[in-house]
Symmetry: C2
Subunit: 451 residues, 2 copies
């Protein structure tokens, strides 16, 4: 065929990551580990189509609209133009909201779901920006009212998920929007949006930068200083409340937020256990999260500063986060459906660590054992041996031809297969198995062998 | 928000399936089981982007070109038009071939990979046709030459995968293109393509239908009858060879195909074991597989005729299949890369059984245990209990507020959670656990309890 067709030279497509098998093995293990943590808290899995109607995405898309990929048939020769109404989803939140609205009568509430799928954004390609990426989301949605219980449960799930991955220590930074909004209102600020927008940039532009932006916005120096003092409050427990109140502002919404955040931090004390290698939880009142639909709890996961093997560029990097929203499905259904949710940016995190050489390659083959083929006459016996081992739960490759033994062993070596099994080369000989790490070789019985 | 935005009424998008949690749980279990079988034979996982460059797809697309979905940015306001070169892949074979060519120097050959991803085809929607669907593929690709070993290994993998799903008995129908082509050449047919196309329709239009098509093609009645006799040969073992030879044609290519197919059937005898409930393997010379790139072994999985719970419409339905190809990556790289591969049409199979009510709903929650919250004062103790159980591998929901116990139990019932755990309601009381199936309730210790 190579002569009949023009040769297309295969190349990477910018923004669409693809890993070699030994790294995909690690990514797959990550997905398994995250899923196990999500399920251990009773979240059920759903999967939504890769596409949504553009009208559904637009109901919530806002500024991301320009990043949507729409679908068109290459040769729509039958006059059908319906596909122009479809686009790839850009996150898993809008599809989840649409799903809950669509299947409302068939779900049990509080509805706890996880979703681990790819999303797509037609962004300009640049380092660390992906056009196709995995997100791992959990959300809890309830009818009318959602207990504060879940605001404390979700950060714990998130923390455990990162722990399961064996990456550098992660801290979950948590705040509650009501505290900031109430505080600003208590300071006499009528329109809080420009201030929160400026304060959200603290990690990027620093305190001086924020003060300058606030001055440009016409905010008085006094209010600016007090706002800045607020977002710099960080405590490892519920003592943030004293620090907020020490700033001298009294406000009902603020107090409501403090009560909620105290419930959350009180119920996350266990994250500071010994085994957490310095990770944990931080009440960080500088956490704002730009998206306007959050109404209470907001959280963000970050690598702990100065942790061992701290990835470069980590301080300003959010590797996951989320928060509470009052009514996300409201544009789809005439029901009040408050929720709290979070998302792990898996590809972003994995890609960052890959780029910095911090992901150790996995094995090129999932096999535990390579069964050698001594010669063609003994194929049936070798096959039986492989089948016996498989029936006992081992992953087994059988070598594909009666090549020289050193070639068969070289194959096991190259694929990282830990054990090589030798069926008898002559009648009456025992089976033997070689541990490729220690070099030890000894007789074995496939029916009872354990490594 | 519901008042600010127009209400978009959510609805299913034709051809893009979406399941309720209790059915997604079954689909997910299927994916896990298939993956476990694939890995048990040492296939490594890869994942390719959802998109390929249109040039890459076109190199192999042929007639499917019109079914490709291309991607466009909704608001490409920056003059970039590069995305028009991207399209969603329509299968996993072309991406695999491109992957092998692109990463050629970094792979270990024979390269055994599995891939379980969605593919997309912009087909006209109709019953049983999906526009987005899961495929589960395994392929082995080698340089220059691929041992016949794999032609026998792959059908065994396929058979085990179906067995793992617990669906009605499946038979793997296998042939080898060389036998048919050699046989037709032996009959003096110069251009075999029109005949194979007609013979491929046997299951759909019957013997008379095929004879009529062949007559229309100008094929002599004698050749047509002999060709028809050939494709009706079915044996559960390698006795097909005698039946072919009894038709009186002598041809070298045919004999080569017979030798290959005999190797395959001889090495698949174990599929006829007792536990297979009537499924197994059939040498079926009527298996042709339309796609022109197959050059040797071809196979197709079908429900066994008249099996218990046989799905309606099953006889003509291929629920998976594949074959050997000489050189699939040849349009991407100047290397001869023969392979053998197969694909399970997971969504098609799952959707068929769903439509016929043959999929039993799974649980609405993965949780094994619901931990009751006796009252707010005992929240920490209930949380600790849940954490202890989780650390021991159980999946645990903790109830989200101190509701009446009957409400907490009703929630467990609705979500299908098998055990309800009662922390002490008063100091000094023991923990207790209730089995929701038997109704039995007894004291238990979270540190050592087993169901």
């Amino acid at each position: 065929m190579s002569e009949q067709h023009k040769v297309y030279k295969p190349k990477a497509i910018s923004g669409f990551p693809e890993w070699l098998p030994e790294y995909r093995a690690v990514e797959l293990a990550w997905l398994d580990k995250i899923r196990a943590v999500f399920e251990s808290y009773g979240f059920c899995n759903i999967e939504t189509p890769s596409v949504e109607e553009i009208d559904a995405l637009s109901a919530k898309a806002g500024e991301t609209e320009k990043e949507i990929y729409t679908l068109t048939r290459l040769q729509a020769d039958d006059g059908e133009s319906k596909e122009a109404r479809l686009a790839l989803h850009f996150d898993l939140t809008v599809p989840m909201a649409r799903y809950v609205a669509q299947h409302f009568g068939q779900l049990v509430f509080p509805f706890k779901r996880y979703q681990m799928q790819k999303s797509w954004r037609g962004e300009r390609p640049q380092k660390g920006r992906y056009r196709e990426f995995y997100q791992c989301d959990i959300d809890v949605v309830n009818i009318d009212e959602l207990p504060i219980h879940f605001d404390a449960e979700l950060p714990a799930v998130l923390f455990e998920a990162y722990q399961a991955l064996g990456i550098p220590p992660v801290e979950i930074h948590i705040s509650n929007r009501k505290i900031l909004i109430g505080y600003l209102q208590g300071l006499g600020v009528a329109d809080t949006a420009p201030l929160t927008r400026a304060l959200d940039k603290l990690d990027k532009i620093g305190a001086d930068g924020v003060l300058k932006v606030l001055a440009d916005e016409g905010v008085s120096a006094d209010v600016a200083q007090k706002a800045l003092a607020f977002v710099q409050i960080k405590t490892p427990d519920s003592s943030f409340a004293d620090k907020v109140r020490a700033l001298g502002v009294q406000n009902e919404l603020m107090e409501q937020g403090i009560t909620e955040l105290q419930f959350v931090t009180d119920n996350l004390k266990h994250l500071h256990g010994d085994k957490n290698a310095g990770g944990g939880m931080v009440a960080n009142l500088g956490i704002i999260r730009g998206l306007d639909y959050y109404t209470g709890t907001v959280l963000e996961a970050r690598f702990k500063e100065n942790a061992t093997h701290w990835p470069k560029g980590a301080p300003s990097l959010s590797i996951g986060g989320g928060g509470r929203y009052d009514d996300l499905a409201g544009s789809f259904i005439n029901q009040k459906l408050p929720g709290v949710g979070l998302s792990i940016g898996l590809t972003r995190l994995f890609g960052l660590l890959m780029d910095q050489g911090k992901i150790a390659a996995g094995s090129k083959s999932p096999a535990d054992v390579l069964v050698v083929l001594p010669d063609e006459a003994r194929r049936a016996e070798a096959s039986d041996t492989a089948r016996t081992l498989r029936s006992r739960g081992f992953k087994v490759e059988m070598y594909h031809r009666d090549a020289k033994i050193k070639n068969q062993m070289a194959y096991a070596e190259k694929k990282g297969i830990a054990h090589v099994w030798f069926p008898p080369f002559k009648d009456g000989q025992p089976h033997e198995v070689k541990n490729m790490t220690t070099g030890e070789q000894k007789p074995a019985d496939a029916a009872v062998w354990t490594p």
